[in-house]
Symmetry: C2
């Protein structure tokens, strides 16, 4: 069922992961800098990317945009990852037991990480860099639209690894749709799979995986305009959350408006967002929203200039709506009432909860993780944006002086 | 595919988990104490357990031992869990970003935990207590041999929950083999599955699960007697690791002996462990081990008074053997050489690594976790013994003053 070449890739990754786990921080950093240099020095990259862009000439401009390689940007990203604080070897907890055993929890790599992603070729180097930083081997399966760009980038990564004395198999690129279905079964060789892309891809991976998967299907993010909100600020936050980049997972998809301020706020919203198609419940429509929402709108991830608008009866109703229709991604409350803010932050169980700030801040870089390998709405291991630490685990290190268990 | 009663159980658990997540620490503690009191007050428990023991009269004594309920012990365990430090609401990290956003990582429950286990009825109350302590609803599927005991215990748990003003559905007991296959598919309602028991049960769960699973298949634990070991201590540690409780997962299954001390150590081991069947490689046999090991012995989890004995060429060979045949569970080195000890602790990637102490310390209680819900040899989320904190995750809590993303 698993083809020999795919099993070989996974076995090579496991072997490389053991070498990488024993490499020093300096050696891993040297590899990252050598990769950055190899990319800067490679004058074939532009041509490879042009070839992918040409083949994609029939695709939508947004899709072609994602395909376009910005060499300066990826090199900067690699160097930023190299400069992140070291996490491997960190002692998270330390305790001496009554019997004298000294216990530590020490941070170690996960092992082998499988990334499955779509068009954007920058994920190839972003993921490789973050995995190497954290001592993990990785297997990358990028989108077929970016095949030539990804191959050229992977060759640069391999050159950088070898220059630093590490096996080229620390980062392996695989191709083909069937590779996904096979790799995600290899739970003895692969420690984690991170699928990034459309909901269809992610559901396919989740359905077939034996390997642990960190994922989010979608981001149905809410902004709740509380009765005690600064309404002018609420308009700004909703606008930023929806309009600044409508096609991303941390964009707002529904605004919940407290009944106490609906009469005042809905017309402000309608006036402020002429470019957004608002879809409201009965009350919102009565107050000026043009389109009536259906049940499907409450669970929709539009990824577009569309926003669902619902009037709710206070904080508990807002949270109940989010629990029912949300995706555990990101929710914001706008309020000047500190108690209401704290209650929202406590009782709303999404992975990122904010007060008086845009949902767009649900991002590894913005939340201080330095870089982001993915976002999780599954509560195991990582919940919310996941950075370098999410690519590690801890082991128990126990120093004794001859202790026996009675 | 999922039967209506099973889906109802899972939906009730999800609803209960949301109430429980909002309950106070005092309310959760009150529930635990009320459960302990309900168990103490229940004079039907002994009869229920006697009924299970009678039905099991044909089973092996070890199996019947596991079935036997020790009421005093489970009540003490519940009260100890109640007394553990609170983890919910703990702020793990705190940072203010340059734009003024105050970011916290706050500890929250996982949600709904599914425990699948075999004969031992104490798991029913141990698991319920640890889940309640950490704000999680749980679904318990115990072994059919313990049906009457488990039902009686679950009734006590329900009485305790109701007495503390919490829904009885915070802890639900389910029965039947088909319940397992259905529950492990419900990844939108169940956040984590922990199977505990024989390898067959665990492989069944891993194969069918859509829900994240924390597990270990087996414990093939090693003791490595280094060239610089205190050999008398090494004998004690091997004996403790093998003989003190041979049927548990942290018992040693293989001893690796450095060639430099084999000639001296093998006869000491043979003399010290007359009750253990030793199975050695050629060198060990030449030095007095009675039985020759086969390739299968190196990967065997005997759970019995049998020990594989291999002579290795130094530290790197010992680690290579563990990487090839081990189960990522627990490994110990015996040495007086501090550098060798540190290298073993660093390079051996099992979940618990020890120097000069018995593998039997790989246990949540012994390692300071207070209580243990399971042991993980999967690196995601928890690696090694897993306690209260392993039943939680963190969310990002962000306090702003009107920040927008540019």
């Amino acid at each position: 069922m698993i083809s020999a070449p795919i099993r070989q890739v996974a076995e090579a990754a496991r072997t490389a992961s053991r070498i990488l786990a024993k490499a020093t921080a300096a050696q891993r950093a040297a590899a990252l800098h050598a990769i950055a240099e190899a990319i800067v020095a490679d004058d074939g990259l532009a041509a490879a990317n042009a070839r992918d862009l040409e083949a994609a000439s029939a695709l939508a401009p947004a899709m072609r945009d994602r395909l376009r390689l910005d060499v300066g940007k990826i090199v900067t990203a690699i160097r930023e990852v190299a400069a992140l604080p070291e996490v491997l070897g960190n002692v998270e907890k330390r305790e001496t037991r009554p019997n004298g055993l000294a216990i530590e929890r020490v941070r170690i790599p996960l092992g082998v990480v499988l990334m499955i992603y779509e068009a954007r070729p920058n994920v190839t180097t972003d993921a490789a860099a973050l995995c190497l930083k954290t001592g993990n081997a990785c297997i990358l399966r990028g989108g077929s639209e970016a095949t030539h760009t990804n191959r050229a980038l992977a060759a640069c990564v391999a050159r950088g690894l070898v220059a630093a004395g590490l096996p080229a198999t620390c980062v392996q690129l695989v191709e083909g749709r069937e590779a996904i279905g096979e790799l995600v079964k290899l739970d003895e060789l692969i420690d984690l799979c991170i699928p990034r892309g459309g909901e269809g891809l992610i559901r396919y991976v989740a359905e077939h995986a034996r390997v642990p998967v960190i994922k989010h299907y979608k981001g149905v993010c809410h902004v709740y305009v509380h009765a005690a909100a600064d309404l002018a600020l609420a308009v700004q936050i909703v606008e930023n959350a929806k309009v600044s980049r409508p096609g991303v997972c941390n964009a707002a998809e529904t605004v919940l408006i407290d009944r106490a301020v609906a009469e005042q706020f809905v017309p402000m919203l309608v006036a402020a967002l002429p470019q957004v198609e608002l879809r409201g419940d009965d009350t919102a429509v009565a107050l000026g929203v043009a389109t009536r929402a259906t049940e499907d709108d409450w669970a929709a991830e539009y990824l577009d200039l569309i926003l669902a608008v619902k009037v709710v009866d206070g904080l508990a109703s807002a949270i109940a709506h989010i629990e029912r229709y949300g995706s555990s991604h990101t929710e914001a409350i706008v309020t000047r009432d500190a108690a209401a803010a704290e209650q929202f932050l406590r009782d709303c169980d999404s992975s990122t909860v904010l007060v008086n700030a845009s949902t767009r801040f649900a991002d590894g870089g913005e939340l201080g993780l330095g870089a982001e390998i993915g976002i999780s709405t599954t509560r195991l291991h990582a919940y919310g944006p996941m950075g370098a630490e999410g690519l590690t685990t801890t082991k128990f290190v126990v120093r004794g002086t001859g202790q026996l268990r009675s």
